[in-house]
């Protein structure tokens, strides 16, 4: 075989270099013939690969774990990882064999999925969605007895924005234009700066939007994306799946998960030394899993840093409505950049929003959008193309995205019930966050920063050496060991900190604040009791 390869290589090189001997020819038509030889060489290189590996590849079926895309094998997604599988198994046990475990139900605190834990949807949004899904009842008089008047009116408005009123048709790949107009108006009202509906791409939740940006930005493993550590594992998974490199920057737990520019500079320099081209900076504000809300001053520094270093700012702003402390407010990065005088030309910025979080918590709808600014028209064309391969995002999710950015206003029939529902949910979340935070801080060896926003607490546990040793002997990360013990003892599902990344040698877990308020006291006492026993067992 070697001889065969050598022969092919030789003829390739001979062909490739022949024109070189004629400098005039080379100058005049370099582009076309070089392209030709470039592709020949590339083909030659792959041919060597298959020559050497064909024998082994022919005998194994195509979809075995050994022959899958290595990027798929490499990526990890802890939010639905091993602990969740264990939880599902325990749940089945409980169904088949009630009383087989020391708890009656599994409490899923692993994932921000509020309605699965009993949070009720906002009535007005659901009325409008139901009417848009079944528009033939809009004209019937009985409908007025079942739905609020402004929901009927809103459904008509939305249907008029849908071409042909066909909610069952594929839409424009960026999303229905009229709905994007509504969203742009909502952004404008929020920020006080104009928003262009053509900058908005509606997506099936925020996650596909993040994937799309990673796909666009990452060319090879030498391309890096800056991510906060601890981070939401969507980012690490998406970067791995697209074959890039995650460049970490650590949030400072001691200052309430602060984001220091000096840390960014240090990590950027380190990455560049390793030959990584850092292309973008991910900021999650309010933070997931860390719950901090960035101060406006800090945001300005981040914008300045991205501008100086030529980074795309990827702003994950899906928790923008989830803020629980009176002294903090949400400011979108776009608003901050514009208020600094930076326009479209100065900084490429993507803001992600979702219908899954906020007070609405409509995870199952898979609605969301990204607002893309500061990109050249050619690049935007490419994003549009990526969107068009999947045709469009689901229409119900699109309608909901427009509703959350344009809820009922003062004077609308539904306004009172809407704002009562909204305030009820947000105030209750704030109380739950506080209760759980206090409870965690009362545990031996546990410290927990305040959840200023988002839906999570991310306590640090000082695990005794004995527990760490025990975990190691079981080949588990110590925090994963703690989480599985917690689950087995109480039915509470949390995600070990190692899934999010943490300063080496520190251990955490992420727990949502979403269980219904009446269940919180029981959770606190179960957690406290478990932790005490765990410490008694392992205390050094």
């Amino acid at each position: 075989m070697r001889k065969f390869v050598a022969h092919r290589a030789k003829s390739l090189i001979t062909n490739a270099t022949a024109p070189l001997l004629n400098p005039h020819h080379h100058q005049s038509s370099s582009s076309s013939f070089n392209y030709y030889y470039t592709s020949r060489l590339a083909r030659f290189l792959t041919s060597i690969a298959s020559d050497t590996s064909m024998a082994s590849d022919k005998s194994t079926p195509p979809l075995t774990a050994q022959s899958l895309n290595p990027k798929v094998l490499k990526c990890e997604y802890a939010v639905r990882g091993e602990i969740v599988s264990l939880a599902q198994k325990l749940q089945q046990d409980l169904q088949v064999n009630p009383g087989s475990h020391p708890f009656e139900e599994i409490i899923y605190c692993n994932i921000g999925n509020p309605q699965s834990l009993g949070q009720q949807p906002i009535t007005f949004f659901r009325e409008v969605l139901a009417l848009c899904d079944h528009p033939t009842i809009l004209d019937r008089s009985e409908t007025q007895g079942l739905f609020s008047a402004d929901s009927i009116e809103r459904a008509w408005q939305i249907l008029d924005q849908v071409p042909g009123r066909a909610t069952g048709a594929y839409s424009h790949s960026q999303g229905i234009k009229g709905l994007r107009d509504t969203i742009a108006a909502g952004i404008e009202a929020r920020d006080g700066f104009p928003a262009d509906p053509n900058d908005i791409f509606l997506t099936d939740g925020a996650s596909p939007a993040v994937h799309m940006m990673m796909q666009l930005l990452i060319r090879s493993e030498n391309d890096g994306i800056f991510c906060p550590i601890p981070q939401y594992p969507l980012y690490s998974a998406s970067i791995a799946l697209h074959g890039g490199t995650l460049v970490p920057y650590y949030l400072d737990e001691a200052t309430g998960w602060g984001l220091e520019i000096s840390e960014l500079k240090k990590q950027l320099e380190a990455a560049r030394q390793k030959g990584i081209t850092v292309r973008a900076l991910v900021v999650i504000n309010p933070g997931n899993p860390t719950g901090q809300v960035l101060a406006e001053e800090n945001q300005r520094d981040i914008v300045e840093f991205c501008k100086k270093e030529g980074l795309v700012l990827l702003a994950d702003e899906v928790y923008q409505e989830n803020i629980y402390v009176p002294d903090k407010h949400f400011h979108s990065f776009k608003k901050v950049a514009r208020s600094m005088g930076y326009g479209d030309k100065d900084i490429p910025l993507v803001s992600f929003q979702s219908v899954s979080k906020g007070y609405y918590g409509e995870c199952g709808k898979r609605g969301g959008y990204m607002e893309v600014t500061g990109f050249s028209p050619e690049v935007r064309e490419q994003i549009y193309k990526l969107a068009s391969v999947n045709l469009c995002s689901n229409i119900s999710g699109q309608i909901l995205a427009s509703l959350v950015m344009s809820p009922p206003k003062v004077g609308d029939e539904s306004y009172e019930s809407y704002s009562a529902e909204k305030d009820g949910i947000l105030q209750s979340l704030a109380r739950r966050a506080k209760t759980l935070e206090d409870a965690l801080n009362n545990l031996e060896g546990v410290t927990c920063n305040k959840a200023e926003g988002a839906m999570y607490l991310f306590p640090r546990i000082m695990l005794p050496n004995k527990a760490i040793k025990e975990a190691e002997s079981l080949k588990k990360a110590p925090d994963a060991y703690y989480a599985s013990r917690l689950l087995n003892a109480t039915g509470i599902v949390v995600v070990p900190g190692s899934g999010f990344g943490q300063v080496p040698g520190t251990w955490h877990f992420r727990c949502t604040i979403l269980p219904q308020e009446e269940k919180i006291p029981a959770i606190v006492s179960q957690l406290t009791e478990f932790h005490k026993k765990f410490m008694d067992e392992f205390r050094d």
């Binding site: 070697r2 390869v5 290589a9 090189i13 490739a16 070189l20 001997l21 070089n34 392209y35 030889y37 030659f44 290189l45 792959t46 060597i48 690969a49 590849d57 079926p61 195509p62 979809l63 075995t64 774990a65 022959s67 899958l68 895309n69 290595p70 939010v79 999925n113 509020p114 309605q115 949070q119 659901r126 969605l129 899904d133 079944h134 033939t136 019937r140 009985e142 409908t143 739905f147 071409p163 042909g164 066909a166 069952g168 048709a169 930005l217 030498n222 560049r272 081209t277 995870c363 199952g364 709808k365 898979r366 193309k385 990526l386 391969v389 999947n390 045709l391 229409i395 119900s396 999710g397």
Partner: protein, 588 residues
Amino acid sequence: MNCRRVLGFGLPFAVVVFIEPWIKASCGHTEIVKELLQVNIDLCLFEGKFLYIWPWPKVAKNDFSDARVLSSSATTLFFQLHESDRFRKLLIGLPYSYNKCNHWLGIMSAKALDYDQINENVKKAQYAVRGELYLRASELQKEGKKIIFTNVGNPHALGQKPLTFPRQVVALCQAPFLLDDPNVGLIFPADAIAKAKLYLSYTSGGLGAYSDSRGLPGIRKEVAAFIGRRDGYPSDPELIYLTDGASKGVMQILQTVIRGQGDGILVPVPQYPLYSAAISLFGGSLVPYYLEENANWGLDINNLRQSVAEARYKGIIVRAMVIINPGNPTGQCLSIDNLKEILNFCYQENLVLLGDEVYQQNVYQDERPFISSRKVLLDMGPPISKELQLISFHTVSKGFLGECGQRGGYFEMTNIPPESVDEIYKVASISLSPNVPGQIFMGCMVSPPQPGDISYDQFLRESKGILESLRKRAHMMTDGFNSCKNVVCNFTEGAMYSFPQIKLPQNAIEAAKSAGKVPDVFYCLKLLEATGISTVPGSGFGQKEGVFHLRTTILPAEEDMPAIMESFKKFNDAFMDQYENNIGYSRM
């Protein structure tokens, strides 16, 4: 970092440097390469990201005598490129050049989102269904012209009414508080209410909660029962994954299969451009096999063998084969014998078969009803039925439902090992869950009202009405095309499309070339401007060289069809007259 990949090996034979194009513009590249690699070279050859260097004295003498060393070096290069750890070590082994790179970067950093800085695979992907023609049609529509969109299989956009029952069920699931309202029965039938309650009981928190990443277990059970009834073999719900439309499923699977450009996927040509676009995006190689237009777009197994042999010769490992049955854009329905041949072929060649069966309800003739690849496979018995890897796709967007906007779909896996299924689960879990309303539509599709249910008659009337009308339209369209000058069209046996061949006169081809257009794009643009009919040129789907087609859907309303075909004929025949070479006639 300006230098993405630096690979030095076996000098003085060849060096391949992958380098950013902007450097070319900014400095003399030979100088840069010298600095980078710390070697003496005389000339390098440059294009795009690739930089080739040969030491001049040897090139000048055309001296490649030591081919053995050359080959081992080239092999080393390849492995360095593909084994990332060793590749990294190589990079670290060049500290000086690396620092230099960083130095340059500091001076002239290119912006992350400059066009030449984004992922090449993204740029390479083509998606014709929403390409130039569609954009021009949208423009014309904005200008107030009446456009007939026949470019996308999007039935509701062309006036097809949604089936009542599924919409009632989903509306009730959206607004569960209605279920407790004593007046709900005034506008919703009892069986829709019962179905909504059943589906809500499958969820953990209604439509607003993420479901299992594979889809609601209750719906997956209904899908499994549907497949079991269809094929006569039970199906395992654990091997059925619900997705946001079939496209998402196809992309998930291709992402799992494709490791790099050495991996090939066999795709029919003409093909639905989702496949070419997705394969480009994931960096694989599309291996085409041509369908035979003269044989009613049949699939010739010898053709397949030849395609695989050619790909192998190019060094591509063919890993999967896509079949679209009924065909898109070609509309043919595969026979049992043909499917058996395909399955045997995949078995011999060790390919996973990806069966795009989204048009399984859209069949407009009775000689060859739809038969799933899974049924044929299981009928064939062991060993093939126990070993051949098969993934089949389905959707709520086609059939009589036509609910494109809901993004509901599923794929079913046969003979896929559990570890691989787990990996596919993991990738699905990163996107959390498919949209739940789309899952409910899927449920309504696979378990529709039964005889005796209140909604049964209406459901049957509506769904039959749609399919019967589509059958009529398929005939009207094919006959219409075949009555046009220089147009021949196979009958649309299934799916939603007509794919006539347009025999363009030489003059029209010349005119297209001078306008800088592919000939069929030229024709379709003219058609659009003259009639408002928005089609997709055949070049977007792939076709044999020198042969031109266009794709239209058969979806315009039945009553509009005669006028559309008449307006098409008028345009086409005038176009043909205009460009046909009349010199011969005048001489006669």
